[in-house]
Structures are given as structure tokens and as C-alpha cells.
């Protein structure tokens, strides 16, 4: 059986510093992440939360901050009962300069076997990171319908 995890790689024409800012500042996440704020002071050990339209969907703790190379936090989906029951997982962003580009590798790992959250985030991250790439390269984030994020499905589960 493959390890229950989700890995996504994207190449983005930007700088590591701008990409870092886009991942950690609500000013940017609200544009490409369906009005989601990332709430944290980004110090190791500090709390982390995703707040969508005023509702906290996910919480965690900042694990690693190596600006602008590596960021990780724990991730616990709290919007649905099914999510709350699962153990917190781990999100890692690696940012590598790649010529004039940045190679962004997202690893979301440490899921329980048969995790319903893994299904949801496997749908959500490609939409979020595609929109992020568009915003940084063309200035316009994508208007992807919100169900693509997989959040509604989770709330029903």
C-alpha cells in the first residue's frame, strides 16, 4: 500500500520571497484561496489557523519556519465531525529557486489509513496552488467554483 499522503509540485515564475509572502499573508491568500485568511505570527510553536468567510476550518501549530525555503505546520480539520476525529496531519512547503522560477513542493502527510480528510485535501490543493500560480504569474487568481476545494464534501461527512 502506498503511504497515505499527498504531494504536489508546481513551477512558478516568481521569486522565493514573493511566494513565501503569498503563502503566509492573508492579503494574498484571500485573493487566491477563496477568501481564506491564514492566521499566524509564523513563529515556531505558534498557533496556525485557516479562516474562511469568518469560519475557522483548520487549526494547527507552526513547526518549521526557514524563510524563504521551508515552512511547515500541523493541520487539523475541525469543520466536520469526521475531520475532528482524525489525528492532526502535517503540511510542508518547500521552495527551491529553479533558474528564473521557483519549484514549490507541497507535502501533506501523516494521514490515518482511510482518512476522509486525505480525499478532501487531494481535491483542494491542486485548485488552491493552481490559483496561486495564476495570481503570481498573471496577476489574476482563478475563479474556480468552491466545491472544487472539497470542503463541502467534508462538512457533509
Amino acid at each position: 500500500m502506498p503511504k497515505p499522503e499527498f504531494i504536489y509540485v508546481s513551477y512558478i515564475e516568481t521569486t522565493p520571497e514573493k511566494l513565501w509572502e503569498a503563502l503566509t499573508s492573508s492579503k494574498f491568500t484571500k485573493r487566491y484561496w477563496w477568501d481564506t485568511s491564514v492566521v499566524s505570527d509564523w513563529k515556531v510553536g505558534s498557533p496556525f489557523a485557516l479562516v474562511m468567510d469568518g469560519t475557522t476550518t483548520d487549526v494547527g501549530e507552526v513547526l518549521e519556519v526557514d524563510r524563504p525555503r521551508r515552512l511547515s505546520y500541523t493541520f487539523h480539520h475541525i469543520l466536520s465531525d469526521a475531520g475532528r476525529k482524525e489525528r492532526p496531519t502535517k503540511v510542508v512547503f518547500n521552495l527551491e529557486p529553479y533558474g528564473k522560477l521557483v519549484k514549490l513542493t507541497l507535502t501533506h502527510e501523516d494521514f490515518e489509513e482511510g482518512s476522509v480528510i486525505l480525499d478532501g485535501i487531494s481535491k483542494g490543493w491542486p485548485a488552491i496552488l493552481s490559483s496561486l500560480k495564476s495570481m503570481l504569474e498573471s496577476g489574476t487568481a482563478l475563479a474556480i467554483p468552491r466545491p472544487c476545494l472539497g470542503i463541502e464534501e467534508l462538512s457533509r461527512s
Binding site: 504531494i7 504536489y8 509540485v9 513551477y11 533558474g99 522560477l101 500560480k133 475563479a143 474556480i144 467554483p145
Partner: protein, 171 residues
């Protein structure tokens, strides 16, 4: 060719601010593919049973295959066989499916690389390295008019694994 027993080993989804017709054209025409796919020309005879080729910049045929399913601009399935000696004999054919769906004002493109037998992570590392680069560049091309300049390192881990299996790889 019966493809029922093929299972996806690599899935990559990307959303693109474009139309299904443009994404289809980008995936199937040499004019586009040369820009986002390291100079490789896709030459596809877009009907079931038609030939599918990716021609390297030096003119050689690098990937050859056959169109298995063709439903423009929604779904294209092709065999995607790299022309290295003994590769298909030892690994079986590789199947690539593109699914193109409208998603609001964008397009959701899903690439599935499938095999008819279990394939190890060392071999799959080649596709896991290549697809995100190719499809990131395709997205940039369609959205900004400019592809990405991605200088790919050779997929060393995959090449080493193929060599070990006695599959001829470029030296």
C-alpha cells in the same frame, strides 16, 4: 486495446484559465507542445487507432503510441511508450489519459499515467518529475502567452532503475 486492467499510478490535476478547446489544442498540437514540452513536437492522428508521437528536437521519435480514446475536447487516452530498447517488453505499455472539464471560467485538466502491472517508485519518479514541469509550463503558456523556461535534469533515479532492469537508456 483493452485498457480495463490499467490502474493510475500518477495523477496530476491543474486548473487553467482557458477553454477546453484551447487546452485540447495545446495537448495535441506540435506548435504548442514545442513551447511547453522542452521542444518536443506532439504529432497525433486524432482518431481511435491513430498514431501518437512525441518527436525530440533532433527529429527522432522519442515517444510512440496509439490513440485509444478520443473525445475532443473532453478526453484523450493514448499509449505513451518511450522508445528505449526492451522498455515495453519489461514494463508493459504506459497509458496516458487527459481529462478536460470546464470548471467555472477555468478548465480542470487531469493527467493520469496508468500501467497494467505494479511499477516501482524508482521508475515512477521519472513521471513524477516530468508531468508537473510540463503541465506547469502549459498552464503558463495558455494564461500568459509565455511558457516556463524549465531546464530539466535527466531523471537519474528512473534511468538507474531502468538500466538495472536491462532496459537501454541514452548514455
Amino acid at each position: 486495446m483493452n485498457i480495463d486492467h490499467f490502474k493510475p499510478a500518477i495523477v496530476y490535476t491543474i486548473y487553467i484559465a482557458s477553454t477546453p478547446a484551447k487546452v485540447w489544442e495545446a495537448l495535441t498540437s506540435a506548435e504548442f507542445s514545442r513551447k511547453y514540452f522542452s521542444g518536443f513536437a506532439i504529432e497525433a492522428d486524432l482518431r481511435v487507432g491513430g498514431a501518437f508521437i512525441a518527436r525530440a528536437p533532433d527529429g527522432s521519435v522519442h515517444i510512440s503510441g496509439e490513440v485509444i480514446e478520443c473525445d475532443p475536447p473532453r478526453k484523450l487516452t493514448i499509449t505513451w511508450n518511450v522508445n528505449w530498447p526492451a522498455l515495453v517488453e519489461k514494463l508493459g505499455p504506459t497509458l496516458v489519459t487527459y481529462e478536460i472539464e470546464p470548471s467555472g471560467e477555468s478548465v480542470k485538466l487531469t493527467m493520469l499515467q496508468s500501467h497494467d502491472r505494479p511499477i516501482g517508485d524508482d521508475i515512477l519518479s521519472g513521471g513524477r518529475q516530468g508531468w508537473p514541469a510540463i503541465l506547469s509550463s502549459l498552464k503558463s503558456l495558455l494564461e500568459t502567452g509565455e511558457p516556463l523556461v524549465i531546464k530539466m535534469e535527466p531523471p537519474q533515479r528512473m534511468l538507474a532503475a531502468l538500466k538495472k532492469m536491462g532496459i537501454g537508456t541514452p548514455s
